[in-house]
């Protein structure tokens, strides 16, 4: 697919926009620069509660960048500058009074490559709660989180063994359990299955289905079928611009913008 410039004044095409009352995360004219390079252009997007929102688009279009805005992970890159608003339950997360460390407790993240700590399975899950001085029953919390990530049955006898001894798919579910243990509202997933085999991928996709009753999920994927399978809504990005967003069904069967259409049909052949 030839990369093609987006008109400066492009207005995101929206189908069935989410009413403000149902939003957990709302982006308003969010722009982001890495030094002089602008990676996001005036992105506005509403993420509904207890649904799965997929971000799709060609490699380098800014999906990860957008995702990392939501938990302010981009703050770790020294040259980053952000303009616009990103509100979480009504609070602008880029307000000077907001502590990014607190943000990341409420907005968990699962990365592209499973990255368990070189610690035991138990300590991986307990890491976040310990950090935040969790005073309850840690064993119970670890068990609950591992069950939530559909991993308990496989690791209940291996809690003391290193998390790195698990298979790739198990490691990724461990990372999901680890994120769940801090009791976030939102979980961000950046291509969580791109390093996994098809069976492990299936399990993660099933898991995403299950957890959305408790969490709001935003997932980056460049696997279109995956977006189709797991998400309720899909947002299509191109060169840092949000081209179109709407119900997944709609985006895949009846895209409104020609770029979306071309991307989708290009991928399906």
């Amino acid at each position: 697919m030839a990369s093609q410039a987006v008109p400066k004044d492009h207005v995101t095409v929206r189908t069935d926009p989410i009413p403000a009352g149902e939003a957990v995360v709302t982006l308003e004219n969010l722009s982001l620069w890495y030094g002089d390079f602008q990676a996001l252009h005036d992105v506005s997007l509403t993420v509904p509660k207890n649904q799965v929102t997929a971000l799709i688009g060609a490699s380098g279009c800014g999906k990860s960048t957008l995702l990392r805005c939501v938990n302010r992970m981009n703050d770790l890159v020294p040259s980053v500058r952000v303009e616009g608003q990103l509100s979480y339950e009504g609070v602008n997360l880029y307000d000077g009074a907001v502590d990014p460390v607190e943000v990341r407790r409420r907005v968990g993240m699962v990365f592209q490559k499973p990255n368990p700590f070189p610690k035991s399975v138990y300590e991986n899950v307990a890491f976040g709660p310990r950090l935040h001085g969790y005073a309850g029953d840690m064993d119970a919390l670890v068990e609950k989180s591992l069950k939530g990530a559909a991993l308990w049955d496989e690791v209940q006898d291996k809690l003391k063994q290193s998390g790195l001894g698990l298979s790739g798919g198990q490691q990724q579910r461990l990372c999901i359990a680890r994120a769940m243990a801090t009791d976030p509202d939102v979980i961000l997933m950046d291509e969580p299955t791109s390093a996994l085999d098809p069976i492990a991928t299936d399990r993660i996709e099933e898991l995403i289905h299950e957890i959305k009753k408790d969490y709001t999920v935003i997932i980056v994927t460049h696997n279109m079928q995956q977006a189709g399978r797991v998400s309720d809504r899909t947002a299509f990005m191109h060169l840092g611009v949000l081209i179109e967003e709407g119900p997944t069904e709609q985006i895949f069967t009846n895209p409104q913008h020609e770029m979306t259409e071309r991307y989708i049909s290009g991928r399906f052949g």
Binding site: N71, M73, L76, V101, E102, V103, R104, R105, G108, M109, F111, K113, N115, P116, F117, P118, K119, F127, G128, L131, H132, S162, L164, C175, R178, A179, T182
Partner: protein, 314 residues
């Protein structure tokens, strides 16, 4: 290989070249010899050390019990006042090492954490090059620095401090081992994958929590290795202690007293001309063997520690 195959190979230009085969064999032999030299040398040193040490202990004037328990070390004295108790030297070595570690460990690890995790790359580069300069100062210069610069200052502060003392030598030695600790520790912290740091940040860890709970534990094997290496260097260090700590074996734990270490005794004994084969000259080898055993044990311990406590990541 049949004659036919040879002909075919030659025709196709795939035949074995005699000169190349000989060349490769020669290179192999040369490299083998190079590797052998170091093994042979090590073996020779250990052999000489053990032979002299054994004849030292075989002498009726010496006993192992005395060597381990007596509190005086005077092998260069006339026979009537001669004692062979190594403890003053071992304690002297340990005192200086102790002071050096008290200074070197926190400073080395602290600066490593700062350089790896907090400093910007430019600061890191310039501080690292200063540390390299520090690492390059000859120890004889550091010894003079301890004796003529540090000791006079310390004598104003510490009452009863002798001109030669383990305190001053240890302090300066602490700075000598600092670059060892910090450069190895920086390398091992820099090797901790970014993904692990991000995982911790993603869970709401602050910068110092990421460092304390993820980076340092993951880098622990390298950090411990740097400590052990620094300790070995401190134990084996010679010029600083010879110049600044004194050459009088004394059974004391007082950092203000003049002492001798194992290494400074060896210098002293080797400097005077003890007749070869005499007890005095053999005592030097016994001290050398003790020194060797201590460093060797230290390396074994460090391997254990690294295996038991090091977090492994791939």
């Amino acid at each position: 290989m049949t004659q036919n195959a040879k002909t075919l190979a030659r025709a196709a230009g795939l035949h074995k070249s005699g000169t190349r085969n000989v060349g490769e064999r020669v290179i192999g032999i040369v490299l083998f010899l190079a590797a052998s030299v170091s093994i042979v040398t090590t073996a020779a040193v250990i052999l000489a050390l053990s032979a002299e040490t054994i004849s030292f202990f075989a002498d009726p004037a010496v006993s192992i019990v005395e060597f381990l328990t007596a509190r005086e070390w005077t092998p260069l004295f006339p026979e009537s006042q001669r004692y062979f108790g190594i403890s003053p030297l071992v304690i002297g070595t340990l005192m200086v090492t102790f002071v050096a570690l008290i200074v070197g460990l926190p400073l080395g690890l602290g600066s490593a954490i700062y350089l790896s995790e907090f400093a910007n790359p430019q600061t890191r580069r310039s501080v690292m090059s200063v540390l390299e300069v520090l690492a390059g100062i000859p120890t004889v210069v550091l010894g003079y620095f301890a004796l003529f610069f540090v000791t006079p200052i310390l004598r104003d502060i510490v009452p009863g401090l002798n001109l030669f003392n383990p305190l001053s030598a240890g302090l300066v030695m602490g700075f000598m081992i600092l670059p060892t600790i910090s450069s190895i520790s920086v390398d091992s912290m820099q090797a901790v994958p970014r993904a692990l740091r991000e995982a911790a940040y993603g869970l709401g860890a602050s910068k110092h929590e990421v460092v304390a709970k993820v980076v340092v534990p993951a880098a622990l094997s390298g950090i411990v290795a740097s400590f052990i290496l620094a300790m070995s260097r401190a134990i084996g260090e010679t010029m600083i202690v010879t110049l600044a700590a004194g050459q009088k074996p004394t059974f004391t734990f007082d950092l203000r007293e003049t002492i001798a270490t194992m290494t400074s005794f060896i210098v002293q004994a080797a400097k005077g001309d003890q007749p070869a084969g005499s007890l005095a000259s053999q005592s030097l080898y016994a001290v050398g063997a003790t020194l060797f055993l201590m460093t060797f044990a230290l390396n074994l311990v460090s391997q254990q520690i690294v295996q038991r406590f090091g977090e492994r990541y791939e």
